[in-house]
Every structure is written in structure tokens, then in C-alpha cells.
Symmetry: C2
Subunit: 576 residues, 2 copies
Amino acid sequence: MLQSKLLLPTLREAPAEAEIISHKLLIRAGLIRQLASGVYTYLPLGYRTLRKVEAIVREEMDKSGAQELNMSVLQPIELWRESGRDSAYGPELVRLKDRHEREFVLGPTNEEVITTVVKNEIKSYRKLPINLYQIQTKFRDERRPRFGLMRGREFLMKDAYSFDLDWNGLDVTYRGMYDAYTNIFTRCGVRFRAVEADAGAIGGEGGTHEFMVLAEIGEDTIISCNQCSYAANLEKAVSGVGKALQSQQIGIGNQVSPAYESFATPNLKTIEQLAGQLGVDASSFVKTLIYQAGNELIAVVVRGDRDVNEVKVKNYLGLVEDIELASESKVQAVTNAAVGFAGPVELAIPILVDQEVAAMGSVVCGANQTDQHLRHVLPGRDFPLDRIGDFCNVRVGDPCPNCDGTLEAFKGIEVGHIFKLGTKYSEKLGAAYIDQDGQEKPMIMGCYGIGISRVVQAVVEQNYDDNGIIWPLSIAPYHVHVIPVSMKDETQRSVANELYQTFQDIGADVLLDDRDERPGVKFKDSDLIGIPIRITVGKQAGEGIVEVKLRSEEDKQLMNLEEVVSFVKNQLATIG
Amino acid sequence: MLQSKLLLPTLREAPAEAEIISHKLLIRAGLIRQLASGVYTYLPLGYRTLRKVEAIVREEMDKSGAQELNMSVLQPIELWRESGRDSAYGPELVRLKDRHEREFVLGPTNEEVITTVVKNEIKSYRKLPINLYQIQTKFRDERRPRFGLMRGREFLMKDAYSFDLDWNGLDVTYRGMYDAYTNIFTRCGVRFRAVEADAGAIGGEGGTHEFMVLAEIGEDTIISCNQCSYAANLEKAVSGVGKALQSQQIGIGNQVSPAYESFATPNLKTIEQLAGQLGVDASSFVKTLIYQAGNELIAVVVRGDRDVNEVKVKNYLGLVEDIELASESKVQAVTNAAVGFAGPVELAIPILVDQEVAAMGSVVCGANQTDQHLRHVLPGRDFPLDRIGDFCNVRVGDPCPNCDGTLEAFKGIEVGHIFKLGTKYSEKLGAAYIDQDGQEKPMIMGCYGIGISRVVQAVVEQNYDDNGIIWPLSIAPYHVHVIPVSMKDETQRSVANELYQTFQDIGADVLLDDRDERPGVKFKDSDLIGIPIRITVGKQAGEGIVEVKLRSEEDKQLMNLEEVVSFVKNQLATIG
């Protein structure tokens, strides 16, 4: 492509709404433009990279034996009612009515449709297992679209759905997808981890892994072991604390100990204030949080230095919807005290006690009375232990659940997610098959997503320097950037054109900067858009010598034309 | 691909809603399934062909110098208000509101968005001309979706938009698109004509051509000359009649002639009844039709044997919206007579007189009195000739407007459309550039669409026989169908597998029917899905002999393995 013709509007400054570096660079390098909040146009450069990621995904999905099809964006609301997701999805689901007032949704994901397709077309065990995928635009009406392509309202996604005879079959399919995803993200040139995750609103009875690109700006926290391969997102992560506690006696509060007593703690509402005042560590206290869980109130009691993990609480309660902290007025009503003085003693709502608290001896807690706390409180004696569980977030430094290692934390961007769905959709929508012995059985499903447009930006978030993007060769919009220092110099122009042609002939995607601009402008743009191989055709062009520089490295090399062609060939060979 | 694994549900019968042969075949051959009225899922076979058409379109667009980008499906309604199309498009425009009650449309076409993109990014004449295209899912809420992919509510379309400095530039770009389209449809293996067309609701000041696949079930009528290259759709077609008339004196009714008089024609309401009764040809009469044009009524007077062309009338009046026949009560009110007796004499509304009528001598027409007609009516003397034009449909047998030939009619399916838009959108949305001499000028636009999903079905409508589809090699879901007669025969199985591998190695898309089915079932399915090259591996497999048959031909040939590989290679070479 000739750069003079290309719609490639580079900018010195990114607009104010771009908060993170990858978003800024995608705009500055002329890859995307915002049309509305969370809705983007891919300019030619951006679309080239998007299609390269798409191609890698397609190749690896095909290699895994999955079959590509294509479902519609418009989905009849009736299917979502059958699965029960029309309400579960809430306001993120984009809805519309057609001219006959029939209601549709714009698919954010396609479990209902694919299950309907498979139910209609496959009846026998002979046609199973099958794994069907598509690469399609999806819609999600995010409450707060942000970070460019990271959290958009319209985005490109690969979604796959597998149908197996049984759980063992699903395990094999799932493993195949895990491997395919590993190949895909490796080929895209990102550093990532596959982590255990919570299934969330999509449901599912089996396991689930998120593929996380490691990046400081990631919205998700990944917990991983410094010794073994254990990795999970914060919502799901467990530590070795629970295992250690199993050897201890639960409810040791039954030992002989003085009765609890209250003491004045005026205006000491937080654990930090309390610990500071009393001069003891926060881990000697327990804190009691009151949650709204559906229509009920519940209390969660955790050690003073821990944070409640709401997903663990929600899963313990078997809820679909998220829980949230109860309103101030409700807390006051149930504790008869100002907020900050709740405690588990004599509290008239269900009390979920974290496993660590259950194993503690005498503790300090709120007194359910304003400006008062209790001491010498014994778990099991002074409050019930009939609801014990792991209700805390893991912390850096906690022991690993699998080995002697220690847990670390990273920030990550979720770019892929694989689920064992089981029969959630096949039972609701009636996708069953006739087994060898004539019995009807529900198909065992899995689903597997990749946020293709998000990958594009995640790659940038990991690959840049002060001057711009540093594209991995595999998904760069162009492989080679040929830059004649002066287009007015006939020799340079002719050598540049010759190389432009030769590189195309060997299958490279080449951009020729044929603009009549100063060299400084050209190099600045070149660094900004980040094409991996830069060939500068300058004063030595007459001798057949050009300068080669990789965007990812500082060094420049002089090569003759033969050398540079074989150099580019070798580089291309690395991406297959 | 192994057929035993492929989601390829063939059917003996098509569902009742499939009215036309191509729709039936797409369903029976397992290419598509309906999810909702006008909304389809592409099964793997169907999606493969869709993607092959897409690839041809992309190649030819790239070759023409157009640049690919990708715009969003969601478009803010404000842009459609700026262009004025939000009302002009009517109920076909799919609308929705987001969670903040902001209104969006689902793009049926992207003039507003692309004009906004270009306006923001291009300011100088140096970056023009530019032609930008995308391949994207579009939405149109058809009043009556039908014929499968022919008239769906969600469909895949290639849309391109060009921006030129001036009209001469647009002419060049337009010609380039005309040529690219010719290449695309030729490569897709369809018989088509490019015809002059009316610009319709999309607007445009310059020319426009439709690319029509010739087919009996086509909803459009194409008029073309039997001698020269003249071709236009019926809405737009003109005949040589007008040219012939230019040499005649208009308003020859001014010659001396008896005054008109009325005569009784009880219950003779139609031209046919009248002509039969009087024993003269319908061409001696004129008929007068009353139309509702916006808020006004107008009369259109044409020769008795002609049909009014409403598009020509609408364009003469400079209207955006369609005109329609006036209601019975309005006709009665304006003519003071029952419907069927309208005439141009003493009629108190604007009268549009077809050029042919203007050149007639004495005519017979309605008397604006029930059961009465007038004779000896002279155009120009007895009714005004201040609004003369071409208001008739061309008819088969009319003279060609360009040569001595005669006009013929065909039915066609519109698969492509190219427009010279001019400044319609650039002026409304402010897409201007600074010229060499510092002057601001509006960009001159063109737009160019191809209905990719419609092409898939149009190809089938032209390429089938009693047994099923006959795919052109270029867009067939697979090139080669390898069919071992018996999968139980080890030799056949091994030869089939060897060929399967070899064909893949030479770049062919191969389907291997590895199912344990009777040969009759396999051949029936093979004919139905229409893979171009069928290789049957039967009893002579042990001697290295297989049977080769093209789906498009009756003959079968025996070949050894070497011959069959080079045969397939040669076939593939024909599609490049």
C-alpha cells in the first residue's frame, strides 16, 4: 500500500476521553475512531490488525476440529425467555421491536440460538461430539463503556459451543479449547495466564478458565502461585488457609473463657481506627458486614484484616444475582446501632462465618450498640457456627492451596473465557440426543469466547514505548515499512519501489511511505504506527545499501538488497 | 472435511415457506436455516460459500484501489436526522434505544457514518480521491421478508463510498467500480447485466447502474436492446419513441377539427371494454389516472395501451416520496364521476401529459361524467400541454433509444448497485476539502453496494437441476467430493484417504464422504449439495482407478490416481 493514498490520520495528541495508553495509541496511530460512546469505526490500519487476529483465531479453531457457521445478530426474545436469561442479563441486553412489535435482542452471546440449531438438526449420538463456532459482532449495553475497545458496546467476538455425549467427552473438548486458546494468544504475541474463574451470569456446572493478558490497567486481579501453576482470578482464588485450618478444632470458643463484655469505643467505626486505639493487630478483630441478598439480609463475619469476597458468598447462597451491601437504614434497623458497630452476637439474621474466624479463639467485635464493642467473644459459644465457609478474598502472601508456595497478585485483561456449561441450556431448550441404547439424554455443553477486538487493544497495552506501538509481526497491519528518505531523489524512489514490489512478491504486507514529507515526520509516524520491520532507503541507495531496523530493537543494520530480502523472508518464516 | 463430522443436515423436502427453487435448495442442501422471518443461520456449508463470495469481492475491491475499513452497526439517529433520511427511510429502518434512552439505528447502509469519518479525517485535496469499503451485516425491516436470502431483514453487504475532487474524478472512480463489479459477478459464475436504474430513496444527482442476475423469479424487469448494449430497469428505461416524436409537431390538435362531443358508454370503465365495444385499437384512446402526490392530486394522461411509470412521474415532480393512485372518493370528488370516466378536459388539477399523447391527433377520453366519454378531443386545444414528458413504461417491441434495435424484457435479481451521489451527503454533513487554490469545496461522492448473501442465492437460482445445486467452482463450499462406495472396503477407504490428503496438499477444499451409508444415499446427497468435482472410489480402487464426474456434466471418466490429481489441479487453475 502507498502511504500517500492510505487513510491513516495520525495524531500528536489523543482526545481527552482516552484514559489508558493502548486506547490513546490506537487513536493516535489512526486505527480507530469513536462514533458514539463504546462504538468505534476501525480505520484501514486497525481493521487489518483485527482481521489478522481473526485469521489466527479461525486457523486454530479449524485445527481443533471446530466448524465455523454464522448466526444472526437478531435473536427472538422468546429464546431468552426459555433460557431465563432475558431477566438475568438485565439492562446490558440490547432490545428492540420490529415493525410488527415483535421483540428481539441483539446477541451479546449465542447459547440460546446455537442450542436451538443443534436441537433441530442433531438427534443421534452418531453426530456427536460437535463444536460449532462463529466470528461475529456482539452487543452489550455497558453501563459505563470505557477504555476504547476494552469495554465497548459493539465488539467482535469469536464464540464456540460444544455438544458432547457426556462429561468425559466435554473434558476432552474443553482441554482441546484450552490448548487452542493457548496457541491463539501465543501467536498473537501477548503474555497471558489461563486462570480458574467464576462462571458468573452465563452459568455452568463445571469448570471455567479465563485467559488473561497481564497488564497493569487490567480490571481483573489474578492470583497465582510463585512455585506451582496455580492461577485463578480474585473472585475464585482460594488460599491454603482453609487446608491448614482443617487440622484445627473448629469452635474452640467452647473452652473455658470469661463471658464477653462490652467496652466503650466512641467514634471508632473502622477496624483501622479500633486497632490503632487498642494497639493490637487487625487480625485479632472480626468485622461483620450486612448484605442485601435478594429480599433477605444476611451477615458475613470475616477477620478484621480480610475483605469479603462477594462472589463466594453469592455462590454459597446459590444466588444468580449479585449481592450488595445493605443500605444504611437497614443496617441500623437490624443492629439497633449506627453503621460501624455491627457484630455477630445476638444478631437476628443468618450469619455466614468465614472459616478463619471459626477457628479463632477470643475475638473483639461490634456490639450492635452505637460506640460499643465486645471482647472475649468466642465463636460457637457467643454466635452460631452453622454457616462456615471461605468468604474472603485471597491476599498476596497467603499460602498456595496446592503446594508450599506463596500467592502473588497480577492485574489482567480478560481476552478469552472457556466454560463447562453442562446441561444448563440443553435441558431448558430441549437439546437431547438418542443414545446407542435408545435412551434420550441431554447434550453436555461447553462454550468458549474470545474478544477479538479486545485482543487488538490488549496487545498494544503490552507492546509499546514512548514513541508508539510495537506490533508483534503476526498481527501487525503491515510487516514491512519501506521509507525513502527523500521522494525527490530518483535513485531512492526507484530502489524503494523495487523493494516494495519484491516484498509483495514474497508475500509480505508492505507499506511504502511515498509521501513528500520531511524524514523526521516519516520516522515519527513509522514509530507511532509500529510496523515491525523498517527499511530506510537513503543516501546509500545508489550502492544498493539500505538500513534495516526492527521496531522492537534499538539497533540498525546496513544491508544490501539481497540481504534485506532474505532477512524479511526469515522474519516472515517465524510466523508461519 | 470428513462428512461424518460435518453439520450437514440434508432434507428430502423443503419447508412450506420456501417458495422459490433456490430457497428450497439452500434449505434442503443444509446451507441455511430460518431463525425468524427474514433472519437466517448459515450452517457450515452455507457459510463457506458466503465467505468465498466475500473473498472474491474483497480481492476485486482491493485490486480497484479501494481501502477496507469497518464501521459500526449501531449508528446515532442524529446522523440520520442531519441527512434527512430518518423519515425518508420509513419503517424499514430498525431503531432502538440504549439504556440512557439515546436513539440508534441499525445501519441499512452507511452514507452518514462514512461521510462523518471522512469529513473529520480528510481536509486537503492531497488525500483525494479515496474509496472506502466494508463488508458488514446490514439490517432492513422489510414489510414482507421472503425468498430466503433474497429479501431478508439481516444480510451481508459490501458497501463502498468514494470521495472525489470533482465530477470528472467521480466518473473515473465510478467506471472503476463498474469494472470491478463486472469482474466480481463474472468470477462468481452468474449471468448478469448491468442496467441503468433509478436512484430511488438513496438519492443522487448522477448516474446509477444496477447489476442484475438474470432469473425468471427476479422481482425486477430489465429492458435491453436486441442489437446494442442499452439496458435499463423498467423504472428507468426509455424507448426510442420520444426521439421519433421530436420530429413531429407537438399539439397538432390545433389543426382544424370538429369540436369534441360526448357519447354514452354505460358501464364501459376500462380501456379494454371501450376498445372492444367501439372496435378500435386501445392506442386510439388516452387514459387519465389520478394520483396522490404528497398532499396534492395530479392527473397523468397516457395512451390507452400504455402503463404509467410512477418513478418517472415522481422524478418529473421532484418528489422524494412515492406517489400512489388517489383514493376512490378523491377521484370521484375531482372528476364528479364514477371511477373509470376521468378525462383531461376541464379537469381542475395539474395534468401531466405523456409525450406520445401530446403528439396524437383526435383522441377519445373519459368525460368526467359517469357513463360518458368524449371524442374529437384535441390535445393542446381541449386540454393544456404545459406539462409534457415521458411518463410511460417501455414495452417489449418498442424501438431502442440508441440504435435501430428493438427492446426486449428480462426478469432480474438485483445483486449490485452503483450510484453517483454527488454532493447530497457531503453538503448536508459538511464533508468539504480545501482545494489547491485554498477554496473550500464539497467532496463529490459515489456509493457502491453488493448484496453478498443475495449473490449466494442468486447463483443457485441460475445453477441447478432436478437433483440439486450445481455450484460454480469459484464459490463452491468444497471443490472436490471424494466418495468411497463402501467404507467397509479397506482398499477403497485407503485410496479415498490418500486422495483426500493429496487434494488438500494441492490446495483444494475437499469433502470426504466417510459415512457408513448406502452408495445411493451418498450420491443423492452429493448431487443435492452440488460439489463441482466428484471422485468415486469404487471396485477398481485396487487397480488405482477412480471415477471422475463434474456436477455440471453427465459424462463420467475413469482416471488413474496421477491423472485425477492433475485433473483437479487444472480445474483449480481455472479459478486462479
